[in-house]
């Protein structure tokens, strides 16, 4: 398996994808050139074939050190740490302050977001000048405690209620910690995503893919039953 970041081969990576929030990847790349800004993460099983997975993210931190680059990459445009622009609203749909918060920090709302959430009518809203991620959390809680949000492969933020589709991933279970609702699996690629369910119905809450010299191991945190 090959992982490329901005066209540069990754020696190793740990990729954490939560069901709610922003994913991040800690990567080691085989290059002395500084990476920055928006990057494309590609996973290939065969370099002559199209990637099996492509994700858009942003370099949040990192630099080369002795011919090797060490980076933290996050989903979207790394805008959730920035302060939202304070703004007060009268009666409005939830999408109005949500889009203002996102666009104010360089992020975008994915069009596949659940309109039952984004069309929710609010009697009013006050956006505070605090990190945009906190404001998004507060805003979506107004729609209900079962609302999720995360960055998709294209780099935009999806919001909605989980439908728990099949993960569509073949895997071998290598180990289990039932008391922690956690399993370790082996798969052909880092395609298991949170918000899906395994073939036995267990729901995936958080995924940590560890890639080292082309080998992949995945820790799966399951929703508590």
């Amino acid at each position: 398996m090959i992982v490329n970041i901005a066209g540069v081969s990754a020696i190793g990576a740990t990729w954490c994808l939560p069901r709610i929030g922003c994913w991040h990847m800690d990567a080691v790349v085989d290059s002395a050139e500084q990476l920055s800004g928006t990057v494309k993460i590609q996973v290939l099983n065969d370099p002559s074939q199209p990637p099996i997975l492509e994700y858009s993210g942003t370099i949040a931190a990192g630099a080369p050190y002795t011919d090797t680059g060490y980076y933290r990459i996050v989903g979207g445009a790394d805008g959730l740490r920035s302060s939202a622009k304070p703004r007060a609203y009268g009666q409005c749909q939830l999408r109005v302050p949500l889009k203002d918060i996102l666009e104010g920090v360089g992020e975008q709302l994915d069009s596949s977001s659940d309109t039952a959430v984004t069309n929710l009518q609010l009697p009013g809203w006050t956006t505070l000048g605090v990190p945009a991620g906190r404001q998004i959390r507060a805003l979506l809680q107004a729609a209900g405690r079962d609302v999720a949000w995360r960055f998709l492969a294209g780099g935009k933020l999806w919001v909605g209620r989980e439908t728990w589709p099949d993960a569509g991933v073949s895997y071998e279970e290598l180990g289990s910690l039932p008391q922690e609702h956690k399993i370790e699996i082996a798969t052909d690629g880092p395609t298991l995503l949170p918000g899906t369910k395994l073939d036995d119905g267990r729901r995936v809450s958080y995924v940590q893919h560890s890639i080292d010299s082309g080998k992949l191991r995945t820790l799966v945190y399951l929703e508590a039953a």
Binding site: S83, P86, R87, A88, G90, L122, P123, G124, W125, T126, T127, L128, G129, V130, P131, R134, A138, L139, A142
Partner: protein, 164 residues
């Protein structure tokens, strides 16, 4: 992000908790200047002192005393809050000292008393009518002019508000 007085590990934990800078959230109230009040005296436009809180218009006022409303001069300060910490339900309350109250309305169903109810005379009831002129009363007591039914002993007034 560097935090004064903290090493990196603690700073990371504090950032995680969102406790690194003075918190601003929906569970307290914030001082704000009154920019404008609605004609019916029920709402105000507010400009908070803290720049992290936006200017808010048409914020309903919780006066705190049933039936009481006041017309206040812009420039005074009130407090902006959110009911039960709900960001969709803001309100204004507590007029700070120093506000100029241009008018006070007291809507009482039966009577308005000044002072201790047991010893006080009724200031106004639903049966009292004010003709709109200035009301004065001699300091030593005696009949008041300008309104019918006002008991003796009431001090000089410039305006009387009719009860409901």
């Amino acid at each position: 992000m560097a935090v004064p007085g903290m090493d990196r590990v603690k700073a990371a934990l504090v950032a995680l908790l969102g406790a690194g800078e003075p918190r601003v959230d929906y569970f307290t109230t914030y001082r704000a200047k009154v920019m404008k009040q609605s004609a019916d005296m029920t709402k105000v436009d507010l400009k908070p002192d803290d720049a992290r809180i936006p200017q808010c218009s048409d914020v309903r006022i919780k006066w705190g005393i049933p039936g009481v409303k006041a017309k206040i001069a812009p420039g005074c300060y009130m407090h902006l809050g959110w009911e039960n910490g709900d960001p969709s339900k803001r309100y204004a309350m507590i007029i700070e000292d120093g506000a100029t109250q241009l008018e006070i309305t007291i809507e009482a169903v039966n009577a308005i008393y000044m002072g201790d109810k047991g010893a006080a005379k009724e200031l106004a009831t639903k049966d009292h009518v004010h003709d709109g002129s200035t009301i004065t009363a001699p300091s030593g007591g005696g009949a008041c002019s300008g309104v019918t039914g006002v008991p003796q002993g009431v001090g000089a007034l410039t305006t009387i508000l009719k009860g409901a």
